[in-house]
């Protein structure tokens, strides 16, 4: 082998350096490769730009003083950057008053959804009980029903909260849960929260891809189902649970649909944004209030961007790891 290589080298060395380079780079194959790669990079970078540009635009708008919006020579870099809009947006979001509440709501809902999705998905992935296929079809069904369809009965259910008539037995009248965070937490804990069917589906695909030998070994060693689940399965499912938690947290953080429905007079930060535009005022006032709203949106998603930068591994690999197979 060595000898063969040496011989090859010697034969190759017989040509001059210039000839060698010519042979290597001046041919159609190389040109096609270069242009192909160039084309793909231009395409990908262009598309990435389309995604990132609105954010850059809004960051620049956040620092622009009002009069520079009417100056067509200022596009991305404001001449006299100000923090005025940012502080107005900060006040409009009411970060000091509502920040903690929004945060804890998102955390609790995400925790509840992750726990329920993990447990239910394990049940669907590993046990063949009667009706399991039908129940899983129900999971998919909860996913394909638009939230608008069930939100009115849900609202009335929580407005007159009376499970099995318990509340009227204890309090004499149904409990009013609107304007509290309970409706969303209850929905999360019963697996009916925002996009919960999707989490169950992802988690199930993940468990199905896990080698069954892990549990079988535990059973042979005498562990019961519960013990095997808590001591063997859960620790190895932590990365995927992290993915679900992060998805759930970020979607809950920006969700204004359920929050806006169940909180009638109270607010969280996400529902505050819609109130920031004074529409119909026209002209420059409208532009300024619109800009404030956009900046508030930017401030709202800023923590998510930071979170995403540090945890993108879980987001991006989570879906790949789940190895969704479509069956």
């Amino acid at each position: 082998m060595e000898k063969y290589r040496e011989k090859q080298n010697i034969e190759f060395e017989q040509f001059s350096r210039g000839k060698r380079l010519k042979a290597k780079y001046l041919n159609w194959h190389f040109a096609a490769k270069v242009f192909g790669t160039l084309f793909i990079y231009v395409l990908l970078i262009g598309i990435a730009f389309v995604i990132v540009y609105p954010i850059i635009r809004r960051v620049s708008n956040a620092f622009k003083p009002a009069e520079e919006f009417f100056d067509s020579s200022v596009i991305l870099f404001p001449r006299n950057p100000t923090q005025e809009t940012i502080w107005r947006a900060y006040g409009g979001l009411n970060v000091n008053g509502l920040g903690a509440k929004s945060f804890w709501l998102a955390v609790f809902v995400a925790l509840g959804q992750t726990a329920v999705a993990t447990v239910a998905a394990y049940g669907f992935a590993r046990f063949k009980f009667r009706g399991s296929k039908l129940l899983f079809a129900c999971v998919i069904f909860t996913l394909v029903v638009p939230p608008e369809t069930i939100v009115i009965p849900l609202l009335l259910r929580f407005r007159y909260f009376n499970p099995f008539g318990l509340m009227s037995l204890i309090l004499g009248k149904p409990l009013d849960l609107t304007d509290t965070l309970w409706p969303q937490i209850i929905l999360a804990l019963t697996g009916m929260g925002w996009k919960n069917g999707l989490y169950i589906y992802m988690m199930r695909e993940y468990f199905k891809g896990m080698p069954i030998a892990l549990e079988e070994a535990a059973y042979i060693d005498g562990a019961k189902t519960m013990r095997a689940f808590f001591e063997i399965i859960l620790p190895s499912a932590v990365p995927m649970m992290m993915t679900i938690f992060l998805f759930s947290f970020s979607w809950q953080w920006t969700d204004d649909f359920y929050a806006g429905t169940f909180l009638l007079t109270e607010r969280v930060m996400a529902t505050n944004i819609a109130t920031l535009v004074e529409s119909g005022s026209g002209g420059s006032v409208e532009i300024i209030s619109y800009n404030t709203q956009q900046t508030a949106t930017l401030l709202l998603i800023l923590p998510l961007i930071v979170l995403f930068i540090f945890t993108q591994r879980f987001f991006v690999e989570g879906i790949e790891r789940s190895g969704i197979t479509g069956t």
Partner: protein, 331 residues
Amino acid sequence: MAETNVNKRTPFKKKLNKLLGIDLMGRKNMMGYIFVLPFVIGFVLVFAPSIIQSFRFSLSTLKMEPDGYNLIFEGLGNYKKAFLEDPDYRKVLLETLRDIVINLPVILIFSFFMAILLNRKNFPGRTIIRIIFFLPVIIYSGVASTAGMTAGLSDDTVAVAAQIFSDPTLNDTGLQTGAASIMSSTMNLQAILSSLDLGPGLMSFITLSVSRLEWIIQSSGVQILIFLAALQTIPTAIFEAAQVEGLTTWEMFWKITLPMISPMILVNAVYTVVDSFTNSRYQVQSFIHNVSFGRIDYGYGSALAFIYFICTIIIIGVVALIVSRYVFYND
């Protein structure tokens, strides 16, 4: 003593198992019920009653009272109203369905194409590009998509922009560029196009297709990843065998890649439709929300939501029907 105990217990267990019609494995599988219990509780006590109630509401008028509500049965009145009387609903619903039907194949093809581009080996910057493509999934969700964070023409953007562009008293190019710079690049484009005097038809066509392009790019993050994951599960041995047999790359694409990831097309199609429910750029959601909670007309709102639900089910059904003809399961 101990022996008799064992002898006594075993037949009892066997009898019990026989009675329930299960064996040891079946007994273990009964544990599955405990795991799915939270979901079952939610489905039986929250979801199923809600959807039935929603259907009942849609057939009636709802009157709120201090400690409860009153239903007045109306039959198909609300549905008749939606289709025959309401001037806006049909338009909004058709626009939304048209948007879904147009976007669905484009998103599928686009994300498929992107996944193939990103799947190349030894491709520097792959991680960064993947991250950026995924960014919209996290940040353009919920209120961020409502508030026109996406660069397209959301409801309020159009309203504000139309006002600024059409108001004769604001005939000031400075203000117009101001509006454009704050709205989006699409509005910027519109400003440029209007200065070119292209005529309204061509102009709206160009702006709409550009904004749709952004819309599609921003809503394909998860789909790209799902396709990418599927592409990576294809065993390389198949490609090697094909290479030995003398297949070209083009043939390999049609004969191997496409069939192998075809199950994912259905998954992605369903995901795309489901995703559209929570994207407020499809206008029907805000319309229904306005009817239900703005006008507090719960009965009519339920009817509208139900019509929307049936329409999306039909779309998913048609897609499933088309895709399942060509899908190939490698079992």
